[in-house]
Assembly symmetry: C2
Homo-oligomer: 432 residues x 2
C-alpha cells in the first residue's frame, strides 16, 4: 500500500470535487490499486465560502506556502490558477523543497513552464499537469506514455469549452455572439475575467502551447502562438457555413512546417463529416495524426469539477507508481527553440463574406477580380437577405488553397471597391 | 539508455510494420526516449513469403519457441494469433522463463488469459496486450493507467473494423450483406476464416471480454458474452433505420447490473447524434462512462499493420520504463467471478420489422396487439415498397423501453398471426 500525503491549494470546483472523490474513495478502488491518499492541508482565499465538503475535517492554511513546510507532505496540488503570482511562487517553492506538484494551471505552464520543469528535473520530482489541458480527456498521458515511440505529424482540436458552447448555441438558437455570451456568463460557464481568455482564444492557445511541446519538443513559448478569437463571428456566417456543409469551430492546431513551429488558434470552417464538427456545447476534442496513426480522436468534457478532478487523481496515481519522473515524456534537454512559422506563408482555403450594394454587375466585378489575381474560387453563394435594396447584400465565396499573403492583398483591393460596404469577413477552412 | 532485446513470432502485417518502424527508429525518437530496441530473432510459418523487410538482416527461427532460449532476450512478441495451439504454448513457455510477453491475440487472452496473467504475476513479468483491442486506440492504457482511480459505469463501442466496414458500405452503396462481404474478402479486409469471427460478433466479444475485465475486475470469461452477429442485417433495415434517424452498428457494451456482468455484442440502432453513429468504415471507437466523466470517447483505426504495431511499441516502451508489472492495472487477486446477467431481463427499446399482407386492418390489428400487451409504441412507419399487392409489406415499429422477455412473448404471438409472413426482425436501439 503506497501512502500519498497531499495538500490542496485552491478549493473551487476542481479542488472540491477532488476532496469529495477522495472522501468517497471506497467507490474508486483506491484500495484495489494499493494507494491511500491523505489530505494533510487545504488552503483557499476565502475560508468562509460555502463549500460542498466540510472544511473542518481538514487542517486549514491561510497561506498555501505554509503547507510546503509540512515534512511528510509528498504532493502539493495547485488549483489556484493565477498565471504567475502566488501560483508560481507556490509551485517553485514546492519543487525547491522536493515536493511533487500537480497543477491544472495552463496559463502558468504555457508561460513559465520551462523554468519549473527544469527545477522539477533537477530535484527529481513530478510536475504533473493532466488537468491543465482538456479537462477529463487524458491527452497528456496519451502523448507522454502511449505515442512516445511514434512520430506526431499534427495535433488539432477544440480546446476551450466556453467558446465551443457559444458557437453551438449561436447556431442552434440563431442568436448573436453577445446574446449567447451573456447566457454563458449567467450560467457561470465563464466570468468577466475568464471570458477574455476564453473568447480571445488565449486559453486554447495556452493549452496548445503545452500540447505542441509534448508533440514536437518545442520549448514552451506562448509567443509562438498565432491567436484569433471568436468575438467577430456573426451568426450569419455560421448559417452560411451550414449551407455550405460546414460548422464554425475555434480550432487549435500545431505542426512543424519547414523546421518551424506553427501553433494556430482561430475560428475555422469544419466539414460536417469531420468528427470535430460534431463536438458540441462545452465538449473538447483532440485529433492526432502520426506516422503510425492516420487519426486518433479523443472527445470528452473539457472542464468542470469532476472531470478535471479525475485528471488530478490520475496524476496522483502516476506519482504513486513511479520513482523517476520524465515530466515531458522525454529528457528536458531535448527541448528545442523553434522559429515561428510566418502566418503569411500559411496555405489554406478560405471562406469570405463580402457585403456589397445590391446592383447588377457587382458579382461579375468581384469574380473578375479573383481571376485577375489568379485565385481559384470553389463556390459562390449569393443570398439576398432582405428586400430593402438600400441595404448591402452578402456574397459568400469559398476559395481553393491559397497563400495567406496573396489573399490579404486581394482582400485589400476588394475592400477599396466603391460598392463594397464593410470589411470582408475571412475565415479559414479546415482542410480534412 | 535502456536496451530492450526482443524476438518476434508472426510476421504478418503487424509484425512487418513493427520491424519497419524499429529499422526506421531514428524517425521515432527512440534515442530521445532513451530506449534502444534490438531484434534478436524472428519467426513465422513461411520463411519464403515475400515481405516488406529483408529477413536476412535477422536471425530466423523455424520454431518460435527456440527464441525463448536466447538468454539475453527480454521480450517475446506473439503475433501468430492462434486462439490456443502454438500461440499459447509460446506465451506460457516465455512467461515460465521470465520473459516479458507482448501480444495482439484477443481470442487467446479472452479465453485463456487468467492462467497466463497468473503466471506473469507469479514471475513478475509483463504480459502486455494493447494491440489486442481496437488496433491503434490506446484503450488498454487509458483504462489501466488513466481511469484507475475512477469508477467505470459502462463501456461501449465499435470493436470490429470488418463488420463496421460492411455495415457502412451496405448503407452507402445500398448493397446486400453478401455482396459487401465478398468485396471485403476481395480487398483482403477479412479471410474466410477470420470473417466467421468478425461477422459472428466473436472477435468483438473477445475484445469486450478484455475491456470488461479491466473495467469491472470480472474474471476473463468468454462465456459471459451474449453475442449476435450481423449476417441477418438487411439493407432494408439499414434504410428504414436511416429514415428514423438511426444508423445500424455492431455495438459491444459491458456494465454491471444488479451485481451481475452484462457483456453484449449485437447490432443496434444508434441515434445519429451519438458519436458512435459517425464511426464509419474500418474505424473503431469506444465510449467510456465513469463516475467522473459523462463521456470519454476514443476513435481511431481498429486494425492494420502500422496502427497495431504502434500499440506493440507502446507496450515495449512501458516495459522499458517499469520494474513492476500490474498487467491488469490492479492486483490479480481482485478478479472476481461475476454471474452472467440474463438477457431476458435486459430492458431496452427496440426496432421491429414485421412483414405482413398488404390489406386493410392489418396495422390496427398489430397496434391493438401491442396495447393489449401493454407495450408502448414510439413510432410506426408503414412504407409499401412495391405495387405488387401479392408481396408482403413491411411495418416498422419502434418501442419504448421494455423487458426483452416480454417483447419475446409478444413477438411469438405476432409471428403466429395469419397475415404475418416472416419471422419478425428485432433490433435493439442504443439508448443514449
Amino acid at each position: 500500500m503506497k501512502q500519498l500525503n497531499i495538500c490542496i491549494a485552491g478549493l473551487g470546483n476542481v479542488g472540491s470535487a477532488l476532496i469529495q472523490s477522495i472522501e468517497d474513495n471506497n467507490k474508486f478502488h483506491f484500495e484495489d490499486r494499493s494507494i491511500k491518499i491523505n489530505i494533510l492541508g487545504i488552503s483557499a482565499k476565502d475560508k468562509n465560502k460555502k463549500r460542498k465538503f466540510n472544511i473542518n475535517n481538514y487542517k486549514w492554511f491561510d497561506d498555501p506556502k505554509a503547507m510546503i513546510l509540512i515534512d511528510d507532505c509528498h504532493v502539493i496540488i495547485e488549483l489556484i490558477g493565477q498565471e504567475k503570482g502566488i501560483s508560481y511562487e507556490l509551485i517553485e517553492m514546492a519543487l525547491n523543497k522536493n515536493k511533487h506538484v500537480v497543477t491544472g494551471n495552463k496559463a502558468l505552464i504555457a508561460n513559465h513552464g520551462k523554468k519549473l520543469f527544469d527545477l522539477a528535473n533537477k530535484n527529481s520530482v513530478a510536475l504533473s499537469y493532466e488537468a491543465a489541458v482538456a479537462g477529463g480527456i487524458p491527452i497528456i498521458k496519451t502523448l507522454k506514455n502511449t505515442l512516445n515511440l511514434d512520430k506526431i505529424n499534427k495535433i488539432s482540436g477544440i480546446l476551450n469549452g466556453t467558446t465551443n458552447y457559444i458557437l453551438t448555441k449561436m447556431q442552434e438558437d440563431n442568436m448573436s455572439f453577445d446574446e449567447v455570451l451573456k447566457i454563458a456568463k449567467d450560467k457561470g460557464f465563464t466570468s468577466d475575467q475568464e471570458s477574455k481568455l476564453d473568447i480571445g482564444g488565449y486559453d486554447a492557445a495556452h493549452k496548445l502551447t503545452i500540447l505542441s511541446t509534448l508533440c514536437f519538443k518545442s520549448n514552451l513559448n506562448f509567443k509562438n502562438n498565432y491567436i484569433e478569437g471568436i468575438s467577430n463571428i456573426k451568426v450569419e456566417d455560421i448559417n452560411y457555413a451550414e449551407k455550405l456543409g460546414y460548422k464554425i469551430k475555434l480550432i487549435s492546431e500545431a505542426c512543424i512546417i519547414e523546421d518551424k513551429i506553427s501553433n494556430f488558434t482561430s475560428p475555422k470552417l469544419i466539414k460536417k463529416s469531420n468528427p470535430l464538427a460534431s463536438v458540441d456545447n462545452a465538449l473538447n476534442a483532440i485529433n492526432i495524426e502520426t506516422f503510425h496513426l492516420e487519426n486518433l480522436f479523443l472527445e470528452g468534457e473539457g472542464a468542470g469539477g469532476k472531470p478535471t478532478a479525475n485528471s488530478v487523481l490520475s496524476d496522483l496515481y502516476d506519482i504513486s507508481q513511479n520513482e523517476k519522473f520524465d515530466n515531458l515524456g522525454f529528457k528536458i534537454d531535448k527541448l528545442q527553440d523553434y522559429e515561428k512559422y510566418s502566418t503569411e506563408n500559411i496555405i489554406n482555403s478560405y471562406y469570405l463574406r463580402i457585403m456589397t450594394d445590391d446592383k447588377p454587375g457587382v458579382l461579375s466585378s468581384i469574380t473578375n477580380f479573383f481571376s485577375e489575381f489568379n485565385i481559384s474560387v470553389k463556390k459562390i453563394l449569393q443570398l439576398p437577405e432582405n428586400s430593402d435594396v438600400d441595404k448591402p447584400i452578402p456574397i459568400i465565396i469559398t476559395t481553393h488553397s491559397i497563400q495567406k499573403e496573396k489573399l490579404s492583398n486581394v482582400i485589400k483591393k476588394i475592400e477599396s471597391l466603391e460598392f463594397v460596404k464593410e470589411k470582408v469577413t475571412v475565415l479559414a477552412i479546415h482542410d480534412n
